[in-house]
Every structure is written in structure tokens, then in C-alpha cells.
């Protein structure tokens, strides 16, 4: 690569200009595809987080009920 001499602009010859343009178009389409896939992953992750949160609440309910049952089983005079 050469530096500009005497302030004149220096150009680099591009042999396969059209091919480069085609590859650039392909890269653009791939980037758009990746963006769409990331959007899908994001929605799936949100759904997964919501499901995990619901699962957590269910486990908490189960834990509370088990504790109640345990209390009733070890203090029969109060529960029965």
C-alpha cells in the first residue's frame, strides 16, 4: 500500500468488485438472519424465565404444604 504523494489521491485497484459486492450482500443477509434468530432466542429465554419463576412458586407451595403435614404428623393432638 502506498501513501499519497504530493497531496494527490492514490487509489487501490479492485479486480473483483462485483464479486465483493455479492459477498457483501450475502453477509448482510446473514447478519439479518442472525438478528432474527437472536430475537427468537430472546423470546424463548423470556418464556423459559417465566416458566422457571412459575416452577419456583409451585415448589414453594409444595414446601409449605409439606411443612404443614409434617407439623400435623408430629403434633397429633392438635391436628387430629
Amino acid at each position: 500500500m502506498n501513501e499519497p504523494k504530493n497531496g494527490a489521491p492514490v487509489f487501490v485497484k479492485v479486480a473483483d468488485y462485483k464479486e465483493i459486492l455479492d459477498v457483501l450482500e450475502m453477509i448482510k443477509s446473514k447478519v439479518e438472519e442472525i438478528r432474527a434468530t437472536l430475537g427468537t432466542i430472546n423470546t424463548l429465554q423470556n418464556e423459559e424465565n417465566a416458566e422457571v419463576e412459575r416452577w419456583n412458586n409451585t415448589i414453594s407451595d409444595i414446601e409449605k404444604k409439606i411443612v404443614e403435614i409434617d407439623t400435623m404428623m408430629f403434633e397429633p393432638e392438635h391436628g387430629w
Binding site: 502506498n2 504530493n6 492514490v10 487509489f11 487501490v12 485497484k13 468488485y17 462485483k18
Partner: protein, 219 residues
């Protein structure tokens, strides 16, 4: 003193009041007499050309739809002289290795055209497109002029910028690949923990069923 006569004539022309009066216009009645009838104007008579040879040929061509036979021209490629560029132009053709060192003032047109085209596209963008650009950071709806059959040149500073951008993209791709590998390992770990939770829940259900059966056996 005869050579001074032309001066006397010019003096007469300059004086407009001494000019001769023009002839009177013709009367309207003369126009009505000489005016053609309306039917003649609607269907003007066709000129009668009496070309004996040409007329005969045209009638013959109308009757026969075949093209007239033309004499065949013998193509002799040797008779056409090859045109070569002048010696000055041939000597000034740059080699592929020397194009970077040349002062290419005339070759500035293709990049200028591209720059002007891109600038004009930016100028003609509507105001709403700016709002859309906030939602989508990169917009790939560009139309380019692709010069066909021309040698393309790119400015060196733009080439450097493009090379730097390509290096940055390469680094980003490496980072993305590493992140993807990490995400895959996280996904495997998550799948394992999901399986573990599922097995725990199955055990819990079995034990609850056992307790239920034991408590409510109904002996």
C-alpha cells in the same frame, strides 16, 4: 462628383415620411371568389407523380411479399484494417504493480460517482427513516451504481478504513464464537439441572403417593 450619389440615397431612406406608400390590401370579395370549397380542404388531392420506373417497382413489391435479392457481399476480414492505440497511449498504460504509485487524476471519476450517489441517497432519506434507524441500528437498503466494464479503484484511506473495519469484525466474530461456546456449555449445564429437578419431582410424587396410601388405607 458622381461618387457622392450613394450618400443622397441613404438620406432619403432615413427620412420615413418621404418613403413610397405600400400598395393597398386586396378586397374581401376577392378572397371569397378565390377561396376553395370545404370538401377540397377535407380531402386534398393527392399529387400525381408519374415516375415510370419507381411506380412499376412499387407495384411489383406490393404484389410479391418476398424481399428482393441483394447482391452478396463478400466479407474479407483482411480488408478491414486493425485499429491500434497510438504509441503515446500504449506507453502510458500502467502495470498492475505500478497503479498505486501513479498520479491518477483522471481515474477519480468512479469513486466520486459512488460518493455522490451515496450522498444523494442520504439527502433523499425521509425523516421517518431516521426514526426507523433507531429501532434497527443498521439499515441495509442501499442501492449502488455498479459501473460495468470499468476498472474500479478505491481511495487508499478508504481502503485502510475498510481493512480496519474487517479486522474489527474478525475480532467481534472471535468473541462471538467464544460466547457461543460458553452459552452451549451453560445450556448443557442447564439441561442437566432440569433433568435433576425432574427426577427429584418424580421421587417426590412417588413418596407423596406412598404417604397418601399409607394414611388413607382405610383399615
Amino acid at each position: 462628383m458622381g461618387f457622392l450619389k450613394f450618400l443622397k440615397r441613404e438620406k432619403k431612406k432615413e427620412d420615413l415620411y418621404e418613403l413610397d406608400l405600400p400598395p393597398e390590401p386586396p378586397m374581401l370579395s376577392d378572397f371569397e371568389k378565390n377561396a376553395p370549397s370545404s370538401g377540397v380542404l377535407d380531402n386534398p388531392p393527392e399529387p400525381d407523380f408519374n415516375f415510370s420506373e419507381a411506380g412499376e417497382k412499387s407495384t411489383n413489391q406490393e404484389e410479391s411479399t418476398e424481399f428482393p435479392a441483394f447482391p452478396e457481399i463478400e466479407e474479407d476480414p483482411l480488408s478491414i484494417p486493425t485499429i491500434s492505440a497510438p504509441a503515446e497511449i500504449q506507453n502510458n498504460v500502467p502495470d498492475e504493480h505500478e497503479f498505486g504509485q501513479l498520479n491518477i487524476a483522471e481515474e477519480e471519476e468512479p469513486p466520486k460517482e459512488l460518493e455522490e450517489h451515496e450522498e444523494s441517497e442520504e439527502e433523499h432519506k425521509p425523516e421517518d427513516s431516521h426514526l426507523q434507524a433507531e429501532e434497527k441500528p443498521v439499515k441495509f437498503q442501499m442501492q449502488r451504481k455498479v459501473p460495468i466494464g470499468k476498472i474500479i479503484y478505491i481511495r487508499v484511506d478508504e481502503f485502510k478504513m475498510m481493512a480496519a473495519s474487517i479486522n474489527a469484525i474478525r475480532n467481534d466474530l472471535k468473541i462471538s464464537e467464544e460466547d457461543l461456546a460458553k452459552l452451549e456449555s451453560d445450556k448443557h449445564a442447564k439441561d442437566k439441572s432440569f433433568d435433576k429437578v425432574k427426577s427429584c419431582l418424580d421421587d417426590l410424587q412417588k413418596k407423596l403417593i406412598f404417604i397418601d396410601k399409607t394414611l388413607f388405607k382405610g383399615e
